[in-house]
Symmetry: C2
Subunit: 510 residues, 2 copies
Amino acid sequence: MRQYEMFEITLRGPELKESWARADVRAVFTHEGKTVTVPGFYAGEGVYKVRFLPMEPGEYVWHVSGAVIGEGREECVPAVTHGPVRASGRGFAYADGTPFQPFGTTIYALVHQSRELIDRTFETLAAAPFNKVRLCVFPKDYDFNKNEPEHYAFEKNADGAWDTSRPCFAFWDAFEEGLRRLNSLGIQADLVLFHPYDRWGFNGMGHEKDLTYLDYLTRRLAAFPNIWWSLANEYELTARTVEEWEDIEAFVSDHDPYGHPLSCHNIFNVWDANRPRITHASIQTKDLLRLPVWQERFAGKPVLIDECAYEGDIEPFWGSITGQEMVRRFWRCVSQGAYCTHGETFYSDDDVLWWAKGGVIHGESPARIGFCRKIIESLPGQLEGEPTFLPRLLKAIRSSEEEREAALESLPKHFHVFAQALAKSPDADSYASSEIGWYGHIGTDVYLRFHDTRPITRDTLELPEDRTYTIRVLDIWNMTDETVAKGASGRYTVKLPGRENMAVLAVAEG
Amino acid sequence: MRQYEMFEITLRGPELKESWARADVRAVFTHEGKTVTVPGFYAGEGVYKVRFLPMEPGEYVWHVSGAVIGEGREECVPAVTHGPVRASGRGFAYADGTPFQPFGTTIYALVHQSRELIDRTFETLAAAPFNKVRLCVFPKDYDFNKNEPEHYAFEKNADGAWDTSRPCFAFWDAFEEGLRRLNSLGIQADLVLFHPYDRWGFNGMGHEKDLTYLDYLTRRLAAFPNIWWSLANEYELTARTVEEWEDIEAFVSDHDPYGHPLSCHNIFNVWDANRPRITHASIQTKDLLRLPVWQERFAGKPVLIDECAYEGDIEPFWGSITGQEMVRRFWRCVSQGAYCTHGETFYSDDDVLWWAKGGVIHGESPARIGFCRKIIESLPGQLEGEPTFLPRLLKAIRSSEEEREAALESLPKHFHVFAQALAKSPDADSYASSEIGWYGHIGTDVYLRFHDTRPITRDTLELPEDRTYTIRVLDIWNMTDETVAKGASGRYTVKLPGRENMAVLAVAEG
């Protein structure tokens, strides 16, 4: 047994004829006087397993009861890994406290491909910059997603309906192999538990079958250290009511002893990340100008833009942004202390699109996402969005009279009229948000100014007077990182080359 | 006297000591039994003038009365030009019916520069693709706009206040020379009558003085064939109430016998172009996704995006879009049957920025705007926006039950759920508008599909089955226009090179 790694107990017992999914088996783990009970699962042919993820080193005593009985004692050795990731403030951290900043990609039907293709995908992932993958449990039926998988999650009844009480062990074994391989690459598995793109009947089984499926799934998978729960991809499009979603949210949360990240991904209506069990917002939107809105609404929780369109050349809107645009979306997000997710949709002769099936990466963005990740991970903390002039002004003139007066005081006279007109405008929020700058800071330690598509040739920073800064100019596309000044303080103007994709980074010296 | 050209009567009379601006002089023009009365103006040193823009050829008899008296008879010869531009449906046309499609630029303080600089500006304009210029009557005080003009519109009182009743003739003569030079280049002068960027006191003279100024201005300028009235630049920021603006709108309209285009330009709140005297919407916005909203709100009137940021490299947001982005904004507008306006703001050693003062053009967009203009002017009519799938679906599911059923019928099953969820979403409009395609058509004669920044490699057109089309692929940045198919009908897939800035144009054959 090792801290942060899945520990598995295997026992033999009676072969089950029915209710495989909810087998009567559990283990009680006792460690330093504290006990945890975790349910086990039936693995077929009279084999019962219980999985456990020890969070602390030391001695554990366990007792299995139910259809099988057993007990044991394990010395849990200290971790050699960082442990499972949890939401932590506006960001994430591994269990040992190491910050985790998600730089994810999307391979919805990764596990429903041939072994050969899966192998190729993992080769690609091993060399790619991604530390999170969104993937579905159920197979996908959609454009470019027409292949039949080898296994399904359940056996079928005589009438052809899925029998969720009888899981298909071959499926789960193969699925878990995928999760293990992701884990070995240090990649979080953002598991999509339900989705609407279905021709097999997994969408629309009915609420009871949904819960039986989740019961088995959580018994098997909750002890994986690298699991995240994404209740749905595009929850509104599946055959479930909001009440059923809320019930599913509670069920998954209650059946996860480890507090893995838990979210629900929308198509139109962002799921309320303020709900207590939800750990972070997982948002589909192309409108990154609204990032500050989501961050304010879900203050204190991480915001992930888990779908913002994909780098590709296919006809639909969602699959045809340029590599540059994909990379800029990452920088827009990270500059605000939010996160973005990659996907790739290029036509291919063999109909293998990364976003659907994996394979190899054709796009230009991943290398640059790696550059972004390297820069962001090198900073001493998580960035926080720095409102630019207009959003700041709008906020000030809408707050107390004192703040309003102070804001006006600091402005040239013709801006007083501007501010007063802005305050009265019904379009004020839209106007102010169109002037958003992708600026962020970490206290007074770091200032990042991402200039996006703006080809400016000068950038004037207003740094604190009482600290000195090293200023770097980043070309986020050509991946250059040039130090242009040391010891800078106060108002400081940086020269820029007058092209898109530039950022200025000021890091405090000592 | 020539049709569509300004005719001027000059008479000598008593020197005026006061009320120059509202001199007692008018002319009655009689033509084919119809009479028109137009006020004249005082031009200084006992000179009175009356200006008239004859719209039809033939014999005119005129009588001047008031402080000076005179009469005459003129044979008005037929036009050699197209006449003044008027709003016509969603577009514009010259008086002779020739369509006019505005491709404008912005030189706010054009006339307040040195003669040498003005000459240089006109040399530039002569070689540029622009057929409209936004320019201010009053000088401008703003960043990059600090120079003192040679003349002001009025003389001053002993107390230093502007005496609007005593126009500065040297100013108006110089100003009119600018208008004439624009006219000789076939360029419409979109005259900004008021604006907020002022250090001289022209903003805040009070309503009575505003009207005196407008009285003199309309007497002098209304007979220029190439005049448009832009009541303001950013009306909300000037020192006037909405009621005063409405009064100004009525005053200008009532004092213009010729129906020149009349608009009012906003900073936040688009002026209501449905007001009867307003001929077209003149909008400042960077959010072109809302174009269909403005077009629907002001149905039947032209929509001009008269300010959408400028090509340049300066620090402010409004002055730092790339040339490519400037050109794309033109194509987005024209694809929807709307229009866009250019401006340019590059730092320059002599502090001459095109948008402020004119001079020479440094940017890359104007040549491409010329390419756009050539293509658009070659089409047999004005494009109309073609809603893409989502806006169309949203409209259908919000309309009659029949239309909703028909819309759902035409969709694959999983889209039924999608449509129903969309219909219920509070974010539906925002979602649908984020999926806008820049597609337009002229009946079934022309289909334009501007793909903007989307690097697609295939584009599938659904052309009418009963006509044949020539299909062209346009690279709107590299200015190539390649015919890729003739005789195309029905569903037709075009190959595209997989880069930004491409458009597909299908024109019916015969």
